[in-house]
């Protein structure tokens, strides 16, 4: 997490000072963008979510308490925007998938008709079919290997909820991969 900006800058931001907002944007844009990219995993979608996150921050500035951490507040907003973006991407993919060829199966590594590409492709499909709230937790915990406490903080969830979502995501993923013939 970045160094926290000084209290006066935060107070000015909370009162609607555009220059203070720009200074905060410049300080946090990179970190927020990387955070969103970790969740949505598409640069264009991450860019849209980045803009939306700072818009929401600006609109919600009056609710920001300058004595609290701006970075943590911003990360919470960014996570919500990334989740919304993920849902929008899911709707778009579903729309585009109509009439498309169904996934290849089975795809056991080295098995008949199965290649490493098929395997990776099927894993990506299985992962993308997880409900967004499970997918986010699985992405951050299993792929990005972030500590559960950090994930809980970013999502604004109790640690136990993060653990139970991760458990459900892992179970669902394992079931789907088994259905696709990936036992390895």
């Amino acid at each position: 997490m970045q160094d926290e900006p000084d209290r006066d800058l935060l107070r000015r931001f909370a009162h609607g000072d555009r220059e203070a907002f720009e200074a905060l944007f410049r300080q946090f844009e990179r970190e927020v963008y990387r955070w969103i990219l970790r969740i949505v995993r598409e640069p264009e979608a991450a860019e849209d979510a980045l803009v939306e996150a700072f818009w929401r921050a600006y609109r919600g500035r009056a609710r920001f308490d300058p004595s609290r951490s701006f970075g943590a507040w911003m990360r919470r907003i960014a996570t919500n925007c990334a989740l919304d973006q993920l849902k929008a991407m899911r709707r778009r993919d579903r729309h585009e998938a109509v009439g498309r060829v169904p996934p290849r199966e089975p795809a056991t590594r080295g098995g008949p008709g199965g290649t490493d590409f098929d395997l990776a492709d099927n894993i990506r499909r299985a992962f993308a079919s997880l409900p967004p709230k499970l997918q986010v937790v699985a992405t951050l915990a299993l792929i990005e290997e972030l500590p559960h406490t950090e994930i809980a903080d970013a999502l604004g969830l109790p640690l136990g909820t993060v653990k139970s979502r991760l458990f459900r995501a892992t179970r669902d993923l394992r079931d789907q991969l088994t259905r696709l013939g990936i036992q390895t």
């Binding site: 844009e29 980045l50 894993i123 299993l142």
Partner: protein, 69 residues
């Protein structure tokens, strides 16, 4: 399949993001949209009115709503 094995498969198919990637310059787009405040469309207003009327006619539905909140 163990959790560790599943994790390895996942990370091979979906690699972790590159944390050194530069953020795009979105300030022009961001600042252009700052003055815009989201407004309620006629559809939003119509829906809100329909829901309010429904609750006035059937107040017991509030329990159903409270249950799902």
């Amino acid at each position: 399949m163990t959790d560790e094995h599943l994790k390895r498969l996942l990370r091979a198919a979906i690699p972790p993001t590159d944390t050194s990637v530069a953020a795009p310059d979105v300030w022009p787009r961001l600042s252009a949209g700052l003055g815009h405040t989201p407004r309620w469309s006629y559809v939003d207003l119509g829906l809100a009115a329909a829901v309010a009327i429904a609750f006035l006619i059937f107040p017991e539905w509030l329990w159903l709503l409270a249950y799902h909140m």
